[in-house]
């Protein structure tokens, strides 16, 4: 499966929860599949989906799912020790690991070569790290939500993108409706 197929499959699980979605095609795909106020789309700032999602989880009690990519986590690798050492049970970091920089033309990442983000997350001190295959994403995500434990998911899937239009919604509108969903 490619990322957009996974997102389509897990959209009903994501829907009631606060979701912080990675820049570029992941946000465009989620926006197309199930746009709603509890999705925060990153329009820029590659690498910070995990940090934004984690700050949000620390600041309030609702579950937060940050949808990240292997390339973006590699950009902000320092995020994993911070997450591990300040653990909060309402945070799920879902790394869609397709071994490539999807938004820029599917150039290979090191995560698709010798580097295991699962082992990196474990070495950083994250206690619950689950590597799974694309077809099991929904099951593992639901288990993570039910566990009430902070979970780092590394979802191994195929490289590839669905053709999507860019998000034209104003960033302040995205933020405003998202903050209202947080408070609701």
């Amino acid at each position: 499966m490619i990322r957009s197929e996974i997102l389509k499959e897990i959209a009903p699980i994501l829907n009631p929860h606060l979701v912080v979605c990675n820049i570029g095609l992941p946000s465009q795909e989620l926006h197309m599949i199930d746009d709603n106020a509890s999705n925060f789309y990153m329009l820029g700032t590659m690498g910070l989906a995990s940090s934004i999602g984690f700050g949000l989880a620390l600041a309030q009690p609702k579950p937060v799912i940050a949808i990240d990519g292997d390339g973006s986590v590699l950009t902000n690798l320092g995020t994993l020790p911070t997450i591990a050492n300040n653990s909060t049970g309402n945070f799920i970091l879902m790394i869609i690991d397709n071994g490539s920089y999807g938004s820029t033309g599917d150039q290979p990442t090191y995560a698709g070569k010798k580097t295991s983000l699962t082992k990196v997350a474990e070495a950083c001190g994250c206690d619950r790290v689950i590597e799974c295959q694309d077809v099991d994403t929904g099951k593992v995500l639901q288990e993570a939500l039910d566990s009430g434990e902070m979970t780092i998911m590394v979802v191994k899937c195929d490289s590839g993108n669905a053709k999507m239009p860019v998000i034209t919604m104003d960033p302040v509108v995205i933020k405003d409706r998202f903050m209202k969903a947080v408070r609701a």
Partner: protein, 168 residues
Amino acid sequence: MNIDKKITDDLVANDISFVTTVPCKQLAGVIDEIDARDEIFHIPSNKEDEGMGLCAGAWMGGKRPAIIMQNTAIGVTINTLATLIQYYRMPLPMLISYRGELREPVACQVEMAVHTKALLAQMNIPTYHFHKQSDVEELDMILKYTFMCNKPVAILTDANFWGGYGDQ
């Protein structure tokens, strides 16, 4: 006056309850003070752009954030300031150790110091420079201003403000 305590008191009085830090020798005292306060959740960052991401999330989660860092970090965070904090219109007080100014013992620090105000001006970031201890009296107003206008605001604090480096 204990500057570290005064700064922390002002943060608490302005309901700032989420502070991320990347350390600097000059900031050690205020970081210790913040760490000791129950009213503030202190989360050290590994890099300042990561810290700004944490602050953005905390703000959307209903907490008033602040970041404490060195001025060298302006070089690290330009993209994050432009495409996250400014683009989405979020408030972010940045308490910045202004290395490379008067009484600086490390020459390399000057290389980033000469760019600091120019970069902040280029970014249209309101910037205040604390050079004397009494300048800290403005901090409370600067924090109120930051959350009034929903912008990142820089507070540069140089070695003279902190009382020099002693034997370093």
